[in-house]
């Protein structure tokens, strides 16, 4: 199935971008918002219970589960890029895609004069670039649902 969901969470735990592909669980926008903020707080607790101190502890970067894997990338600005994929997708591939998503975010959202920081991303160019980037990694039909606008 490949990559089946992408979300971008801002530094206060708000969901600012959300895209689903083949295999994504059905969830309402409210549910997606709630899960994004739960993930944000879970990361805080994960840093609190850490048995070792780190110079820059930002919470979870990877989650391995029985049916899927999650990779999160958090640059110093606090915004967070999260990819969900099935187990056959290589972890290194996900990691490099996340870094490139950050570049797309910088290019198409942050450089857009009408985009306000920490607000939902509604940029056509960003959507197109993300679709192009993830094209080969999603399920065979590509996008099944229109991106859910946060």
């Amino acid at each position: 199935m490949g990559i089946y969901a992408l979300f971008v969470v801002n530094r206060s735990g708000g969901l600012i971008y959300h895209e689903k592909y083949v295999g994504a669980p059905t969830m309402s926008l409210n549910e997606a918002l709630r899960m994004a903020s739960t993930f944000h707080s879970v990361q805080q607790i994960a840093a609190d219970v850490a048995p070792v101190a780190a110079a820059h502890e930002s919470g979870m970067t990877a989650v391995e589960a029985a049916e899927f894997r999650l990779r999160a990338y958090q640059p110093r600005t606090g915004v967070q890029f999260v990819l969900l994929s099935t187990l056959e997708v290589n972890a290194e591939v996900l990691q490099s895609l996340l870094v490139r998503l950050h570049l797309l975010y910088a290019d198409y959202a942050l450089k857009n004069p009408f985009y306000e920081k920490d607000m939902p991303i509604r940029c056509k160019r960003f959507e197109m670039a993300v679709a192009r980037l993830l094209e080969g990694y999603t399920g065979r039909d590509g996008v099944v649902a229109r991106p859910v606008r946060a």
């Binding site: 994504a24 669980p25 899960m35 879970v42 070792v52 930002s58 391995e64």
Partner: protein
């Protein structure tokens, strides 16, 4: 694998009581042990819910609501049908490995990062330490903390052999 450092171990029952806590190496000591255990259980509880919400669906499969018809009026239905999906998570400084048995026991092991998949080690702790030294101990009452020396020795031995 050989360079992995084991930090600590938690065993929770399904009510969230910490039955056993063992620490081998903890460079950043917790402020309050009880609070630390509560945080850990809360974290795992939330992660279980999240993982169930994130799990992919097979093509053509119906939504969860259809599988559990009582989900609409019973808010706890989702909690009861939640599957233990979490295996491990990694942060910048440590990795946490997780095993949940059908009886609701949660085995938690934290190590340094890049320790790989330690599901086997957790299964051995369950099989060789918990079952042998707690469940089969006639003096042990289920749900009370596991304080036997034998359990601790087994646990240490398993972890040492996994290094």
């Amino acid at each position: 694998m050989s360079t992995a450092v084991f930090y600590n171990f938690y065993l929770f029952n399904r009510e969230g009581a910490c039955l056993c806590y063992r620490e081998w190496n903890r460079p950043r000591p917790g402020v309050d042990a009880l609070q630390d255990q509560r945080n850990m259980f809360g974290l795992l509880f939330a992660m279980k819910q999240l993982c169930n919400g994130w799990a992919p669906v097979e093509e053509g499969a119906t939504a969860l609501a259809a599988e559990a018809p009582d989900a609409a009026w019973d808010p706890d239905a989702r909690l009861r049908t939640a599957r233990p999906l979490l295996r491990s998570y990694t942060t910048a400084s440590y990795q946490l490995h997780y095993l949940e048995t059908p009886t609701g026991l949660r085995f938690v092991l934290t190590t340094s990062v890049h320790a790989g998949d330690l599901t086997r080690v957790l299964q051995r702790i369950y099989r060789e330490a918990y079952v042998e030294c707690a469940a089969r101990n006639p003096l042990y009452r289920l749900g009370t903390s596991v304080m036997s020396d034998a359990f601790r020795k087994r646990l240490d031995a398993i972890v040492r052999s996994a290094l």
